[in-house]
């Protein structure tokens, strides 16, 4: 790693001030950033740890939604939304491994927007609102391509508000070495329609499968998806799977998610 300092502000205001320094970078749980630093893929002068800011941790309920502080770990989400939003809890409880879940945070995952991460699918399918220190961003406007989001420099995710669907499920086809999603599909059924978000597949990161949403909004059953498929164009190909294989998995996993929801 290159050399840098670590500072640990106790409030969002102090963190925002610290991030105003040249080459400052926010540090959430560090479960992606620290491995990246080891590979010298980043060269910050100062890391601003968000882990000591109590005001961005914890889960609360608000009018049909769960609001999760950006600094809440996956392990805490798995425990604390188990009764209010079980599909979200199940998703969180299968990220990485227990030690990773004790450090990694929802805000960190969404800020990084890894194209194979689980949280982007949950946020997009739920129609979540990403709350920062300056504004609220709808999930539909937030994800802007692989590792790219609507966040400005120095902007901090303070909370994420997930509307609670009538039914939902997330199915991840796990890449066994990394435990990231080779493909993951989150299906959420609301009173006014169904949202389907796919991670792990596209070169543009998480996306909504709108044809499946239309079919499922009329008939929420796996059979409603018969004959629908996602074109392989624009999907990722790597040593773990071809674009065509990923396209096939999207169809299979969406059906499984509907069946499980």
């Amino acid at each position: 790693m290159y050399s840098f300092d670590v500072v640990r502000p106790k409030s969002v205001a102090d963190a925002v001030a610290a991030l105003g320094e040249e080459e400052a970078q926010a540090l959430g749980g560090g479960q992606t950033l620290i491995p990246s630093l080891k590979q010298r893929l980043a060269m910050p002068s100062v890391l601003v740890s968000l882990a000591s800011i109590d005001e961005i941790k914890g889960v609360s309920s608000e009018g049909g939604a769960v609001k999760i502080g950006g600094g809440t770990t996956h392990g805490a989400v798995a425990r604390e939304v188990a009764s209010s939003y079980p599909a979200l809890a199940a998703m969180a409880s299968n990220i990485g491994d227990p030690a990773v879940r004790n450090r990694g945070t929802v805000g960190g995952s969404l800020a990084n927007n890894d194209p194979a991460a689980c949280y982007p699918a949950a946020a997009l399918a739920s129609g979540a609102t990403i709350v920062t220190n300056t504004r609220e961003i709808a999930a539909d406007d937030y994800f802007q391509g692989m590792f790219t989001t609507a966040l400005e420099e120095g902007e901090i995710i303070t909370a994420v508000s997930f509307p609670i669907p009538e039914k939902a499920a997330y199915i991840k086809f796990e890449q066994p070495a990394s435990r990231f999603a080779l493909v993951g599909v989150f299906v959420a059924k609301f009173g006014d329609g169904v949202r389907v978000a796919v991670t792990g597949a596209s070169e543009e990161g998480v996306f909504r499968w709108t044809e499946a949403e239309a079919a499922l909004s009329g008939d929420f059953s796996a059979a409603a998806l018969d004959g629908l498929s996602v074109p392989a164009d624009g999907l990722m190909t790597d040593l773990h799977g071809s674009a065509a294989y990923r396209a096939h998995l999207i169809g299979v996993l969406t059906k499984r998610a509907v069946a499980q929801a």
Binding site: S3, F4, R8, G30, V100, N102, R103, R179
Partner: protein, 161 residues
């Protein structure tokens, strides 16, 4: 350099550290507690697992500066006060839960966290919890058996003798 103060296995320690010093480096190089192993150094293998404020974390993926003020537990603090092996360590010995021993500190630390959260885990729950602890010798059967035994449960159905 930043000064950090933390409690490691019940003892208070203070040191000046670089911002980029990992907990594995702090424990091994500064405190000479070499029981916490560095296997992959990429947060996959779990040989470096330690407890920070009671939670199981990867020592290679957390900075010493992030542990300022924390209660830290390592494998060196796991034995009973009289120096005898604790129930988990003894079960690893009794059930041959290790061969080369490299992964064992991390396995024992993970097992302790699992049994704290879930005192009577099923075999499937143990295997799921150990997803982040890699062993290249045992094939895991005897590790699972040892953790089952440490939880006071019957192990006869776990793996072939």
């Amino acid at each position: 350099m930043t000064k950090v103060t933390m409690t490691v296995n019940g003892k208070s320690v203070s040191k000046e550290v670089r911002g980029n010093m990992l907990m594995t480096e702090f424990l091994r190089d500064e405190l000479h507690l070499t029981g916490t192993h560095v296997g992959c150094d990429t947060s996959q293998c779990g040989a470096c697992n330690i407890h920070v404020n009671g939670e199981n974390v990867k020592g290679c993926t957390i900075f010493a500066a992030e542990c300022d003020g924390a209660e830290v537990g390592t494998i060196e603090g796991q034995a009973n006060a009289d120096g005898s092996l604790n129930a988990i360590q003894q079960a690893f010995q009794d059930h041959h839960g290790l061969q080369c021993g490299f992964c064992t500190p991390g396995m024992v630390m993970s097992a302790a966290s699992l049994l704290k959260e879930n005192p009577k885990p099923t075999e499937a729950e143990i295997r799921h919890y150990l997803e982040g602890n890699i062993c290249r010798c045992t094939g895991y059967h005897n590790i699972v058996k040892a953790i089952m035994a440490a939880s006071g449960q019957d192990v006869s159905s776990i793996a072939a003798e």
